[in-house]
């Protein structure tokens, strides 16, 4: 154990001597250079210092292009290409946002018209259900009377 500790102490001495050698290798003007360097303005002092990062530029550009693409092309997704081929063809050829807007109005009209039809169908179904309910009530009343 003693030998071990002694060896460590010996090693520490070697490392200290190495440190002294490193400190001693500097010339006498070292402190002057440090003094002058620390009094200079930051921009002059460190030529390779960090500048503001510009890495965000491609990402922001890509995001802007994505948003533009979304705004321009998104209305086309809602157009029913199977039934409105003429409108879609016009949109594709002219590639004009106003045309897209108008065609989307047409599509909305179709959808609204479809909703009216659906309302009528629903009313018919409701009437049928009411009729069935009335029939059921009559059956139950008959059963009640029989009991």
């Amino acid at each position: 154990m003693n030998e071990h500790t002694e060896s460590n102490t010996d090693f520490e001495r070697r490392l200290d001597r190495l440190a002294q050698a490193d400190r001693g290798e500097l010339d006498a003007g070292f402190e002057d250079r440090v003094w002058h360097a620390m009094q200079q303005p930051a921009a002059e002092r460190i030529p390779g210092r960090r500048r503001k990062s510009t890495a965000w530029i491609p990402f922001v550009t890509a995001a802007c292009v994505g948003i533009m693409g979304y705004i321009v092309w998104m209305p086309m997704i809602n157009v029913d290409t199977s039934t409105r081929t003429d409108d879609v063809a016009a949109v594709e050829t002219e590639n004009d946002s106003m045309e897209i807007l108008l065609s989307s109005f047409d599509t909305m009209d179709l959808l609204i018209a479809g909703v009216d039809e659906m309302d009528e169908n629903l009313s018919v179904i409701e009437l049928q259900m009411d009729a069935t309910e009335v029939e059921n009530d009559a059956i139950w009343q008959d059963y009640g009377g029989a009991l």
Partner: protein, 205 residues
Amino acid sequence: MNEDITGRGIDAQRRADEPGAAGDLADLVAEAAAGDGQAWSELIERYARRVYALAKSRLRDPDQAEEVSQAVFASVFQHVSTGRYTERGQFEPWLFRIAMNRIRDHVRRSSRGPRMVGEFAAPVASAPASPLHAEDVNELRRAIESLSDADQEIIGLRHQAGMEFKAIAEVLNEPVGTLLARHHRALHKLRDLLGAKKSAGVSHE
């Protein structure tokens, strides 16, 4: 800067290690913060060479080590003179924390570019103090370089920077016991590395 303060870094460190030096240091920092040039000279005299030795032990390049030393003191000057540093008896750990961060930045930056490492790196010539011979110095340097980063840091802070374990604990933000154990292990590894090299040399002969 005055001529009389140059070339006295090691003496300054010895004075800094004397009892009562902490109070002196606090006064010195306060004077420096007030714009006293002589106080700054004294601080540079005490710490600049220690920062340089620490930087050189990690960067292995005297020019880069000097550049880091200047950058560290510039940062310290900026903080102290603008009142962004408040003296609470932590000047030395604070200064060496700045130094460690700068050194780590340099190591990271230089590791991105091409460089020679390990056995192929050219030994840096230095003027070793007697009785440490140039061959021993280079051998010791290579052994230190082969240690892990954490081990190199503790060896550098303890010996190159000449810090107390308590101050090192504040720099690295780790308990003193952990650092003592790591230092002991690092010394053991160094001894094994150098012993293995020596025995290999003997067997070759």
